[in-house]
Amino acid sequence: MKPRVGQFLASTVDGTTVIVVKAPDGDVTITCGGAAMVDPKAKEQPPAGEADPAQMGGSELGKRYADEDLGLEVLVTKPGQGTIAVNGTPLPLKDAKPLPASD
């Protein structure tokens, strides 16, 4: 699939949802718990996926997961048990020091 910035993606193995914050130009496969993530607003919802027990590392609410080389970054809007991966490789947690609230 070709993700778009601002697009929500939902897991088919658990309740994880993410929003795409940065997207590469080409096609990528984004998975959660080993199964492809889908557009939650699509008319026809695919059947529940089968979780890969080896890819159940979980995600944290509000955190970003990114592959800098690929130019893909997603932000977790609902956390779950599945590991978020791109093209089969788990996306690392992006370490960002939050700024103090200024407004």
Partner: protein, 498 residues
């Protein structure tokens, strides 16, 4: 990305959380989304091309902001304190708007040919007509048009696109990071950029937002205690008034206090740091054109500066902190050359959150995408930014360019002076001469001769004000900016009658 994304994310992740208003009557994130959808339907049914908001702050404002976003039209918050002529000029730019105005201002909208309803009625309309779902608007459309305060020139409409505002939120705030007990108190009026960015950043972090319709130090302190406010944003004059009032100043629940919008007098922030040792202070520098904050002096930096004996570190208490990661900054001289740390010049910035256009006036950036803030400033060796006033306030005395901020700083550091302004007054011989007005510390008597000596000893003769007036207060906008043309007028009037 559209602002509605912020609302969707909040409603999906913590839909049942109270995010808006006082505890007793707070709206949840889901309810806010419903009202925004209902409001959007109203806007679309009316055929309006914008939403004009001419009212004090309250729950109707965030509903209007998101309803406009869903309907794909910009929100135009207008300063309800503008004079009739300026107000008419601004409204004439938006003849096809849907109008929301306080009861006393609805006639002004009607005269401009704009339909008017009160904030109360607007919330009622939005609640009546909630569609099952609403489609989002495009991402490149304007989300808000905010008029600059016009203290140095005619108000200009700053076009803030969805992309500018969402990038600001995404880059500076951590999603869902606030605890359920957190509440933010907003005291600036809705026509101030901080009021818009505040709605977005607090909703995005999951923090309930409260607003003060009209600021008074007593009301502010009472609200902080009653609602157990944890975060607040004020302009410097508000903090000065809080620190000077005789009311109970205890704020046990307060964790963070952000300030910005004008220069904070050192004495005021030092006093607040002393009185509220448990509070984290944040100084934010930004402009309407930059979707709010572009540099931040954080809580640890405040405490490090105030506790330091190193003069360089201590001076940072008066800095605007460090530039946020999503912004590139250049200090340039008048020929456009980029200056090294330590040198003062004009502040230019670039980044996704920076507006690129003024309504009806075209592009506001240079060929490399940089925006001229028209602020003067410098960076120190470690990247701390010091703001040295507006370029437009420069005094030209006998061909020499003089920045009033430098002289104001020296005056403000005098123990008997609470507030100070320096302006250029028309002069036959020099072109402009330097004059000042100061407000004494309560109970102090200012010796003008000694004060002029104080300036001469630190700067030099040509930067010493020719005349210093002692006033009870300086003319400021409600958002804390000094109105310099009124200072000049006051000084001229004083000389004419003396």
């Amino acid at each position: 990305m559209n602002l509605t994304m912020v609302l969707d994310m909040a409603a999906d992740a913590f839909g049942d959380r109270a995010v808006l208003g006082r505890r007793a009557e707070a709206l949840t994130a889901c309810r806010l989304r419903e009202l925004a959808a209902g409001g959007a339907r109203r806007i679309q049914a009316s055929g309006a091309d914008s939403v004009v908001y001419l009212a004090v702050n309250g729950p109707a404002f965030p509903v209007a902001l998101f309803a406009a976003a869903l309907a794909g039209v910009p929100l135009v918050p207008v300063n309800y304190r503008l004079g009739a002529e300026q107000l008419a000029q601004v409204l004439a730019n938006h003849p096809r708007a849907l109008g929301i105005a306080d009861p006393g201002q609805t006639a002004v909208l009607t005269q401009a040919g704009i339909s008017a309803r009160t904030p109360q009625d607007w919330l009622g309309e939005a609640a009546q007509d909630v569609p099952e779902s609403a489609g989002p608007a495009g991402g490149d459309a304007p989300a808000a048009i905010i008029y600059t305060s016009g203290t140095t020139s005619k108000p200009k409409g700053v076009v803030l696109r969805h992309q500018n505002l969402t990038s600001y939120v995404l880059e500076t705030v951590e999603f869902a990071s606030a605890g359920e007990d957190e509440a933010a108190l907003m005291s600036v009026p809705p026509y101030h950029i901080a009021a818009v960015s505040n709605v977005l950043s607090n909703l995005y972090s999951g923090r309930r937002v409260l607003t003060l319709e009209a600021f008074s130090p007593e009301r502010w302190l009472d609200t902080v205690r009653e609602e157990e406010v944890t975060n607040a944003m004020v302009v410097p004059t508000m903090l000065a008034r809080i620190m000077n009032c005789g009311h109970d100043r205890s704020v046990p629940s307060l964790r963070a206090l952000a300030y910005g919008g004008a220069k904070m007098p050192l004495k005021v922030v030092e006093r607040a740091l002393r009185e509220w040792p448990h509070v984290g202070f944040v100084n934010a520098y930004g402009l309407t054109e930059t979707s709010s904050t572009i540099s931040v002096l954080g809580p640890e930096e405040h405490r490090a500066a105030v506790g330091s004996t190193d003069e360089t570190v201590r001076a940072r208490l008066e800095s605007a902190g460090k530039v946020v990661p999503a912004i590139e900054m250049e200090i340039r001289d008048e020929d456009g050359q980029v200056l090294p740390p330590g040198r003062t010049g004009r502040i230019w910035v670039r980044g996704e959150q920076v507006s690129t256009e003024y309504a009806g006036l075209g592009s506001s950036i240079d060929e490399r995408g940089f925006f001229d803030t028209r602020d003067r400033g410098r960076l120190d060796e470690e990247g701390f930014l010091f703001i040295e006033g507006r370029i437009d306030d420069t005094i030209i005395r006998g061909g020499e360019n003089i920045a009033p901020a430098e002289i104001e700083d020296v005056l403000l550091h005098h123990p008997d002076v609470d507030d100070a302004v320096v302006v250029g007054v028309p002069d036959d011989e020099w072109g402009q001469r330097i004059e000042a007005a100061v407000v004494p510390r309560p109970g102090a008597k200012v010796d003008i001769g000694a004060l002029r000596e104080h300036v001469r000893g630190r700067l030099r003769g040509s930067k010493t004000p020719d005349y210093i007036a002692v006033w009870e207060e300086l003319p400021r906008t409600p958002t804390g900016k000094i109105v310099r043309r009124d200072v000049v007028r006051g000084l001229l009037g004083e000389r004419a009658t003396s």
